[in-house]
């Protein structure tokens, strides 16, 4: 059997696949951030908290109301997305005429409050959420045992990412959205309700985070800090991909998941910093990110 860089190919394939799975979460989350930043110019720091809320609402639905996983996948993004709409209407919409920094501070503060509330209510140890019975078990691929649920995560993430990209870049609605970003006054003059569109866009970005939260609930422990741990990495992904670039967010999300997966084999101690090292290098050579357009 040949070896690649001192690692048997089986192990390498396994790690690549795991990287892809983690990349699915990075892609989904950074996609939501990119949509919000691209169309609203708001750096949504509460994204991690909204991802956590997705997982918690799924848990509450199952435990208190008996809503199964599949129902949660649809209902939870709607519920959490609605809270996003309310937040946008009541707070964020007041900040559009101010510097980016104010939006960042507001959403960061909101994230701390939301996390604190959940911490007081549920503690930090996490709550159990079982994998749905249709997806329990796994398939032996020869080089590794792939849990069915993880395969589903990759598929679901790819579908949602592609759907979002298609909606924004290839449909009439997406064209309105992009036009409204460029020149809201003009688009409004054509009879399109720009503020409502912006509100719904924020709600959609939040719903994406909540969707990722539901996907994560069965594999990571559902705890109030789950988003805070992830959000920093996801911001690095967005910066590397190029702030506001939809395609950039998706591709870098998956790509960096793989890079991180490989670091875990070759030099595990560095796996938590690998992404930030890449971010620093990318910023040195392409300050707008890999897929970003320089203004």
């Amino acid at each position: 059997m040949f070896e690649l860089l001192g690692i048997p190919p089986q192990a390498l394939f396994g790690q690549l696949l795991l990287g892809l799975i983690n990349g699915s979460f990075y892609a989904l989350l950074s996609l939501g951030l990119a949509v919000i930043f691209g169309l609203l110019n708001i750096i949504n720091f509460s994204h991690g908290a909204q991802y956590m809320m997705g997982a918690f609402v799924a848990w509450m639905g199952l435990t208190w109301l008996g809503i199964p996983y599949w129902g949660a996948l649809v209902i939870v993004p709607l519920v959490v997305g609605t809270t996003g709409v309310v937040i946008e209407r009541l707070m964020i919409s007041k900040l559009y005429h101010l510097d980016h920094l104010y939006g960042l501070l507001l959403t960061f503060g909101l994230a701390l409050i939301i996390q604190g509330l959940f911490r007081n209510g549920f503690g930090v140890s996490g709550l159990p959420y079982s994998i749905p019975s249709q997806l329990s078990g796994g398939t032996n691929l020869g080089f590794m045992f792939l849990p069915n649920y993880r395969a589903w995560v990759v598929v679901a993430s790819l579908i949602v990412c592609f759907g979002t990209w298609f909606a924004i870049e290839r449909t009439r609605l997406g064209a309105y959205l992009r036009a409204a970003t460029e020149n809201p006054t003009l688009v409004g003059a054509f009879g399109i309700n720009v503020p409502r569109m912006i509100t719904l866009t924020y709600g959609f970005g939040v719903a994406l985070a909540a969707f990722a939260g539901v996907l994560a609930a069965p594999i990571y422990s559902v705890n109030p800090n789950m988003g805070a741990d992830l959000i920093i990495v996801v911001f690095a992904v967005v910066v590397i991909g190029g702030m506001g670039s939809i395609l950039g967010a998706i591709l870098t999300g998956f790509g960096l998941g793989i890079v991180e997966g490989l670091t875990k084999v070759f030099y595990p101690e560095a796996s938590s910093v690998a992404i930030f090292v890449i971010m620093a290098i990318v910023l040195l050579f392409k300050p707008a990110g890999l897929f970003g357009r320089t203004a």
């Binding site: 796994g138 800090n225 992830l230 875990k264 938590s272």
Partner: protein, 398 residues
């Protein structure tokens, strides 16, 4: 004034002086109040400290105790800053709890420098009573040696000979891996490898697959709290346990078992210093604790805080003041006794010794109710549960 009146007045004055011993003591509970160790220490440790003060009836004995608390976020630098501020500016006499070994070692050094007292319950590193032992430090509840000696030895004795470690990459993980390796090798087992994961982590599947590829009989989890919970969950998901490899959770708290659920956690063997359902006294104490903590049961860290603060207050009462040397001397030369740990002893190196327990997590069918999680496999007597006094290399041991 005749002789009789004078004598009576003198006696009265002496009595008043005796009962009105007025000592102000300030306890600072420093631990994780927001991160992955917040449930196993956090507010529960503050509640446990308060319970100790109430049960001791400190105010009636002339000891006025004030308790303050802070969040060290599991970061040694944050812990150091708070410890210095507490000792220098806020008049704190004793720092209590401090989980996260790296943070605990930092507080240990500052306590030594300031000549104060440090009652550690939450941290695990044996260095606190070994190379870095300090005159004012008492390490109360458990340490990596006791964990390795309990769980590690039990696993090897049950035929799990080849070990692979999944280790949290900081002082605690390293210390636990090192101690367990020593126990495994001494019992005739071997260690085939280890991988160090960033702390805290989220996804352990990559490390678990490396552990699986090693072909070891057992994967030793040298991590704690949320990291252990996720490791165990993901090992089940990736079919690692089903494929025949066993997991040895070297440090598992009851809050972790609660988070995992019995379905996933059943069968795990673990070492603890305390379990709420050990005897009538622990049940009664835990019931009171639960009432204040919204129903959750105390961890051994909470119980350790109670036990340590109780013994400390006895020391203050006996010495009549709070001077570090006097109180520590009294604490080390008198046995401890309380309703959570029973009888114990504080050794010269600052190690508190008491019985440890080897438990196995019940299956869902065996459990009769919420928080009914453990069955007792063995009691490890205090004399052999902890590292022998002479092996630690502590300079305080003559």
């Amino acid at each position: 004034m005749n002789f009789k009146t004078a004598t009576l007045a003198g006696l009265a004055a002496m009595l008043m002086a005796g009962s009105a011993m007025a000592v102000d003591v300030k306890l600072g509970v420093l631990n994780d109040r927001s991160g992955i160790y917040a449930d196993l220490s956090g507010e529960g440790s503050v509640v446990a400290a308060r319970m100790a003060i109430e049960d001791f009836d400190a105010a009636a004995k002339g000891i006025n105790v004030e308790v303050i608390s802070a969040d060290h976020q599991n970061k040694p630098d944050v812990a150091s800053t708070i410890a210095r501020q507490w000792y220098d500016e806020e008049g704190v006499d004793v720092i209590v709890d401090v989980p996260t070994s790296s943070a605990a070692l930092a507080v240990n050094e500052i306590t030594r420098e300031k000549g104060k007292i440090f009652l550690n319950s939450g941290a695990a590193s044996t260095d606190l009573t070994g190379a870095q032992c300090a005159p004012g430090t008492a390490h109360w509840t458990y340490d990596t040696y006791a964990l390795a000696n309990g769980t590690g030895k039990a696993m090897v004795d049950n035929g799990y000979q080849n070990w692979y470690f999944l280790t949290a990459d900081y002082a605690f993980g390293h210390s636990l891996e090192e101690n367990t390796t020593a126990v495994v090798q001494a019992s005739g087992g071997t260690v085939v490898g280890s991988v160090r994961h960033p702390f805290p982590g989220t996804d352990f599947s990559s490390f678990l697959l490396q552990a699986q590829a090693s072909g070891a009989d057992v994967i030793g989890l040298a991590n704690a709290g949320g990291d252990t919970v996720n490791s165990i969950k993901q090992a089940a998901e990736f079919g690692i346990t089903q494929a025949g490899q066993a997991l040895a959770g070297l440090l598992i708290f009851i809050t972790d078992v609660h988070a995992l659920g019995l379905e996933t956690a059943q069968g795990l063997v673990l070492t603890e210093a305390f379990y709420w359902d050990l005897n009538d006294e622990t049940r009664a104490w835990s019931e009171r604790f639960s009432e204040e903590m919204g129903g959750s049961k105390p961890t051994m860290v909470h119980a350790g805080v109670y036990s340590a603060v109780t013994h400390y207050l006895k020391g203050v009462e006996a010495s009549g003041d709070k001077a570090t040397d006097g109180v520590m001397d009294w604490m080390k030369s008198n046995p401890s006794s309380d309703q959570v740990f029973g009888e114990g002893e504080l050794r010269a190196d600052g190690r508190h010794i008491h019985d440890m327990y080897l438990f196995q997590v019940k299956s869902p069918a065996e459990s009769t109710g919420e928080w009914d999680y453990y069955k007792l496999l063995a009691t490890i007597p205090a004399e052999i549960a902890f590292r022998p006094l002479e092996d630690g290399g502590c300079a305080l041991v003559e």
